[in-house]
């Protein structure tokens, strides 16, 4: 096996040093009745070319071929990934390193993540960004736990019903064993979270609202901040489309105390939903409550600048059962990927890409309306929106995937049973006018 370097002579001489006569004797410290009687029922090893054939066969069973057109978002977005991003991020010094516990030989990761933290705070308008979480859902659950711990008199968290459905489930999974509850804030006929419903909600430790929300609509976050302030509780903003803040006002500008988000749009492949990039940011005041790694700037013994993991006293390896979270490994390499992406597109690029997303989405919506679809909400959106489709559309949608590799929107009734024949559409900068015109033609009644 090419990953195992030992020659027969190596094994013999090493066994001699270890004082054993054969490899099996190394396991004499394990009582016989604890050893397994059967060998592993796992296939024989494949050569690299056999592996290639097998993997390509599996990959081709997914209809994600080279020229497929993706009009679906819903938390995973089809953005262009410039060639330099996978190229730089595959450098093995980044990829094959561990968590930077030895800062003298980890300055690449450390400076890179420090720059990541800085660019994320800039993107979100927040004071502090952590070095990453698993995904938006888990980051949001951590944010909910912060709010609940900060406000010991309350045991509920109010979450918008237009927060990604999976995220609501994750929050519930994380908080319910400790006796906390989630209450959902209903939505209005404009497709926005009903801020008016919060007045009657008691016993809540925080308010969590996603914007753009799961329907793609842009929420008025300032109204939720006002309620949170009046109730003296934390306001948590979340998002699944990080590129929106190339164009829209950021959550920090509305006074969010905590922001949880998904960074997959920043140069990371969709990869069937993971690994993505959980972003968690907060105000200065909440610095010591934020779970997860943080990189800080310091000096070395010669007085030169350098970077280290810092504020570890919040973390599980020091605090054990008193830690703010059990998180250990995060999504570091994807944080680095996002940093390379943000440095690549820069201030000019992110604005233009975000604007183009919006332009294409507006054109897509207009084209679908002309093709017989019904607009559901007349509310400003970024790159996603809801349409009611003609009844015959579902059949056509399946045919479009099978015949043309066009994924035309996602059914919403799975998540919102009242919304029969409603679809969530998305357009990114990768979609051309020609693609949209083709889709409109195909679905024309």
């Amino acid at each position: 096996m090419r990953y195992l370097p030992h020659t027969k002579e190596d094994i013999e001489s090493m066994l001699k040093v270890a004082g054993q006569s054969c490899l099996d004797d190394l396991f004499n410290c394990i009582p016989d009745d604890l050893k397994t009687k059967d060998s592993l029922d796992i296939p024989e090893s494949l050569s690299e070319w056999e592996l290639n054939a097998h993997m390509e066969e599996l990959a081709s069973l997914n209809i994600a071929c080279k020229d497929y057109k993706c009009f679906i978002g819903a938390g995973s977005y089809d953005h262009y990934i410039p060639a330099i991003i996978p190229y730089l991020i595959s450098r093995s010094e980044f990829m094959t390193a561990y968590t930077p516990y030895q800062p003298e030989v980890s300055q690449g990761t450390l400076q890179g993540i420090y720059e990541f933290q800085t660019m994320i705070t800039e993107l979100l308008g927040m004071d502090i960004a952590t070095a990453s979480h698993y995904d938006c859902g888990t980051a949001l659950a951590e944010a909910a736990l912060i709010a609940l711990r900060k406000n010991k008199n309350a045991n509920k968290i109010a979450v918008s019903s237009l927060t990604h459905p999976s995220h609501r489930q994750i929050i519930d999974t994380y908080i319910s064993p400790a006796g906390y509850e989630i209450v959902e804030i209903p939505y209005t006929k404009e497709g926005l979270t009903d801020v008016g419903a919060l007045g009657a909600m008691d016993d809540i430790a925080g308010i969590a609202v996603q914007s753009p929300n799961f329907f793609g609509n842009i929420e008025d976050l300032s109204s939720f901040k006002t309620v949170a302030e009046a109730k003296k509780i934390l306001f948590i903003a979340s998002f699944t489309e990080a590129l929106a803040f190339g164009l829209l006002k950021n959550p920090g500008s509305f006074g969010a105390d905590l922001v949880a988000g998904e960074g997959q749009s920043l140069g990371i492949a969709k990869s069937f939903g993971g690994p993505g990039l959980g972003l968690l940011a907060g105000t200065q005041k909440l610095m010591r409550s934020l779970p997860g790694r943080l990189i800080g700037k310091t000096k070395d013994a010669n007085g030169d600048d350098g970077f280290v993991l810092t504020l570890a006293t919040r973390e599980q390896h020091i605090r054990r059962e008193k830690a703010s979270s059990n998180i250990c490994s995060n999504n570091g390499l994807n944080a680095m990927t996002a940093a390379v992406y943000l440095a690549t597109v820069g201030k000019i690029g992110i604005r233009e890409i975000a604007q183009q997303n919006h332009d294409k989405a507006v054109y897509l919506k207009t084209s679908l309306e002309k093709a017989g679809f019904e607009s559901v909400f007349e509310t400003p959106f970024f790159n996603e929106f809801v349409m009611k489709a003609p009844v015959s559309f579902e059949q056509k949608r399946t045919a479009l995937i099978n015949d043309k590799c066009i994924f035309a929107g996602m059914r919403l009734d799975k998540f919102y049973p009242g919304l029969k024949n409603h679809y969530l559409f998305c357009a990114t900068e990768k979609i051309s006018k020609g693609d949209i015109d083709q889709l409109a033609k195909e679905v024309q009644e």
């Binding site: 010094e93 968590t99 300055q107």
Partner: protein, 485 residues
């Protein structure tokens, strides 16, 4: 003896991104707009974020230089105990990058995602067979996330049995994630000491196990690198009081094909695909932490689960006792692809060989260094061995000094100051992919450093000398945190 790998050469200074920024530069060529500009209402629009403005070469040079300040498995031996820093095969990267995988949308629909689901289903099967369990979830995104999943299942099980419990037993050799995961479920940790021989004694477990205790969390092999040979008896004690046994599989690399935890009383076990199954650690993730369970806990697995019906695969959420959901989609699929490719490349025999050679390498290091460094628990070890600085104390040299000096020799230091049960631990896990020559070089480096500790202790106290930066002031970093530029 060959020259030690550590040397110094030309590396480059590189400023922070924004110090290189010049107004008007952009490293991406933007597509020409082909539809009309659609202006949003003015009060919704913010200022463009102040990101750096760079050319493509600026970006490439920046990250190339940064990467050169890092040490990775591809640079040299990385014997970080309990982290299993084995070689990360390059073919795994090729497999994960295939368009059909990397481009797959999680909401494309089951019938159009059969390849991804089949891969995940197969991987679940292999992990179950490897460990003697009945079912596996791949959803947890990291080892600690897998631990949380396991504890949430135990919590859901006790709720279903009609009476929630309040405590969990955790040995002193446990990873810090164990108590932190348990406390998220509202369980108080009951810490117990391991015996003089470094392993758990059934009596110690029996003394604290009661009907208020949800179960026990056991890492086996434990973090001293020793096999918990009383595991079955301990499991019987815990089961007899209605508790469950959580197995921390962080150290699974020692026992593939030798011991199947599902056969010896463990009820639930997590894996670290980024340790045992060769996926890259990425400077801190993304990892993947699948969890295997026996029949008792199967109903409580997170959803969605992958179900095979005839020749097709489905995502099913309809399990009434499920503990819930842990990831927005299905977990870290990209990491699963790499682990799956590794298992297929190794085959059943290759995985067993890997464990045998990992244990051989660790015992070889232990025997070769035990006169040089103090070995508090001198027993045959599994995949790792734990020394400390007892012999160097008279020269006022610490584990940290030796670790830093190893950097100059071109080795990543072992895990230091963990496990807590050994004072000033120096925990070496060579892994099976290191050759005898490389291990010999490591051994001779440690011996040379021990000699320097006697003859020139100042050299160690100021180490490292050859790295881009010297020892960093971590106290100042924490006292006045500067977390952004």
């Amino acid at each position: 003896m060959n020259k030690q790998p550590g040397t110094s050469g030309l590396i480059f200074n590189e400023p922070l991104l924004w110090d290189k920024s010049r107004e008007g530069r952009c490293a991406v060529s933007l597509p020409k707009p082909d539809v009309e500009r659609a202006d949003l209402e003015k009060d919704l629009i913010g200022d463009a974020p102040e990101l750096p403005q760079l050319s493509e070469l600026d970006v490439v040079r920046h990250y190339t230089r940064l990467s050169q300040w890092n040490f990775g498995v591809d640079s040299g031996m990385y014997p970080l105990g309990s982290c299993t820093m084995k070689y990360n095969p390059k073919t795994n990267e090729v497999q994960a990058a295939r368009q059909g995988f990397a481009g797959a949308h999680p909401f494309a629909g089951e019938e159009f995602s059969q390849g991804a689901l089949k891969l995940m289903y197969n991987l679940e099967q292999y992990l179950a067979k490897l460990t003697g369990f009945d079912a596996v979830t791949l959803q947890p995104a990291a080892g600690a996330h897998g631990e949380l999943a396991g504890m949430l299942m135990i919590h859901a099980y006790h709720a279903k049995m009609g009476k929630q419990r309040s405590k969990i037993i955790i040995p002193d050799t446990a990873h810090g994630t164990n108590p932190a995961s348990a406390s998220l479920c509202g369980y108080d940790s009951i810490n117990i000491k391991s015996g003089d021989n470094g392993i758990l004694e059934p009596l110690a477990v029996a003394a604290v196990m009661d009907e208020e205790t949800a179960g026990i969390m056991v890492t086996n092999p434990n973090t001293l690198g020793l096999f918990e040979s009383n595991i079955k008896e301990i499991a019987d004690i815990v089961h007899s009081k209605g508790g469950l046994v959580y197995g921390d599989g962080a150290n699974m690399n020692a026992i593939m094909g030798i011991v199947k935890p599902g056969e010896i009383g463990v009820d639930v076990l997590h894996f670290n695909l980024h340790k045992t199954f060769s996926t890259p650690h990425g400077g801190g993730g993304p990892g993947s932490g699948p969890v295997a369970v026996g029949k008792t806990l199967e109903p409580f697995l997170p959803v969605p689960r992958i179900v095979k019906e005839l020749d097709s695969y489905k995502l099913v959420t309809d399990f009434s006792d499920t503990m819930g959901r842990l990831h927005t989609f299905y977990g870290h699929f990209g990491v699963m692809i790499r682990a799956y490719a590794y298992i297929l490349s190794m085959g059943g025999k290759g995985l067993t060989d890997a464990s045998k050679l990992a244990v051989l390498n660790a015992n070889y290091v232990k025997e070769s260094l035990k006169g040089t460094l103090n070995l508090p628990y001198d027993y045959p070890c599994m995949h790792e061995c734990v020394f400390n600085d007892e012999f160097q104390k008279e020269y006022h040299i610490t584990t940290m000094d030796m670790a830093k000096r190893l950097l100059d020799y071109g080795f990543h230091p072992p895990t230091v100051y963990f496990p807590l049960v050994v004072d000033s631990a120096f925990m070496v896990e060579p892994t099976e992919t290191e050759s005898k020559e490389d291990i010999d070089q490591f051994i001779s480096a440690v011996k040379a450093i021990a000699k320097e500790a006697q003859e020139n202790p100042e050299k160690l106290k100021k180490a490292p000398h050859k790295t881009k930066v010297t020892r960093l002031d971590e106290v100042a970093a924490a006292r006045k945190p500067c977390l952004r530029g």
